[in-house]
């Protein structure tokens, strides 16, 4: 069980980080700006953006472009 968990984290840690960390930050930012907070389902889009960035980082093997 522990091995499966460790293996999952090794493979998907960037996606989880994107989803939870980046998604939470994007969500918080969106609530600070009225032109963003009026967008329907902005919370969902914030976390979706976080997952998307995490997936790109997982595919590339690293976070930044370069």
């Amino acid at each position: 069980m522990l091995e499966k968990f460790t293996s999952h984290l090794e493979n998907w840690n960037k996606v989880w980080f994107g989803f939870i960390f980046l998604g939470s930050v994007f969500n918080a930012i969106s609530k600070e700006f009225s032109f963003l907070s009026v967008i329907p389902n902005i919370t969902m889009w914030s976390f979706a953006l976080g997952i998307f960035i995490g997936l790109i980082a997982k595919y590339r093997g690293k976070w930044l472009w370069g």
Binding site: T6, E10, N13, F17, F21, S24, N27, K62, L64, G66
Partner: protein
């Protein structure tokens, strides 16, 4: 015979004499480093209630947290070398306490840093065995910064394979992984409820601290160096006074004699300068006669 020691230098600069001089700088208890390590972590912890209670604004908290993270590595580094306990078993708890606690701001596990750093000393600049090779050998400041930020400088999986037969190394890495997961769990829990605080008081400061530490501890001292005890680290000078980059211009003496305490390094370099020149240490000819209270600035 010690590996990497030239045999054709004058006897007045023998390794035995060098070691005797170095040992004289290796006895002092480094209370300043304990104070800095524990102090910056305590200051960082106190920033959180100050920000939450709006006693200080978040941007001031960010600046303080970043300064703390830039001060975090060196006290842990002394602990990694056992320089607080100095071989006394009854004092090893100081190494552990400072080593672990000071790294809270960097969000980094002490055990991982300790064992990889020991391998770095044993195999400095070895492309296969030196865990710091990815950060000490990029060709530019921009490249090393990018590697640290995008996570490609860390390849602990590779070194777990390289040192698979070293049980102590593997065990320490596994213990460190648990601490790493704990840090991550706390961060990801915090960010859900306090996103801006998690970002500006912990994650971003730790990133800046790691970039700063890597540039000055790993990259600058090993730029353009090769393999070998007296060739793998250099003396260097910079436009920045050494007080702002933890005197890493003197890192060469640490690689030669890791037991020399950080604040004893200037005097140790002054005393060992003739030895370093005789051994052909890169940059040794640039060492001034007075290193103590010398910012070592060069434009």
């Amino acid at each position: 015979m010690v590996v990497g020691i030239k045999q054709d230098i004058p006897s007045e600069f023998s390794f035995e004499k060098e070691k005797t001089i170095a040992k004289s700088f290796s006895n002092r208890f480094q209370w300043e480093m304990v104070l800095i390590g524990i102090g910056q972590a305590c200051i960082w912890l106190s920033v959180w209630p100050l920000v939450f209670n709006q006693i200080i604004p978040l941007w001031i908290g960010f600046i303080v947290a970043t300064l703390c993270s830039c001060m975090a590595y060196l006290p842990s580094h002394e602990a990694q070398h056992g320089n607080y306990s100095r071989g006394k078993p009854e004092r090893r708890w100081i190494d552990s306490l400072v080593g672990h606690f000071t790294l809270i701001t960097l969000m980094y596990p002490y055990e991982v840093l300790r064992v990889t750093h020991m391998k770095h000393h044993a195999y400095t600049n070895d492309s296969e065995k030196d865990p710091d090779f990815g950060t000490s050998n990029p060709k530019s400041l921009w490249e090393v910064t990018l590697r640290v930020l995008d996570g490609s400088s860390l390849d602990y999986g590779k070194y777990l394979e390289v040192y698979a037969d070293d049980n102590a190394f593997v065990d320490a890495m596994n213990r460190g992984t648990i601490v790493y997961l704990l840090y991550r769990s706390i961060l990801l829990s915090l960010v859900i409820f306090f996103p801006f605080e998690a970002l500006f008081l912990w994650w971003l400061p730790s990133k800046i601290g790691i970039v700063y530490t890597t540039i000055f501890f790993s990259w600058y001292p090993h730029q353009g160096t090769t393999l070998g005890r007296y060739k793998d680290t250099r003396f260097w000078r910079h436009w920045m006074p050494r007080y702002i980059n933890h005197s890493m211009q003197l890192h060469v003496i640490h690689h030669l004699h890791p037991s020399i305490g950080h604040y004893s390094e200037p005097k140790a370099v002054e005393a060992l300068k003739p030895f370093l020149i005789a051994r052909g240490v890169p940059g040794a000819e640039q060492i001034p006669d007075r290193v103590s209270y010398n910012p070592l600035v060069k434009f």
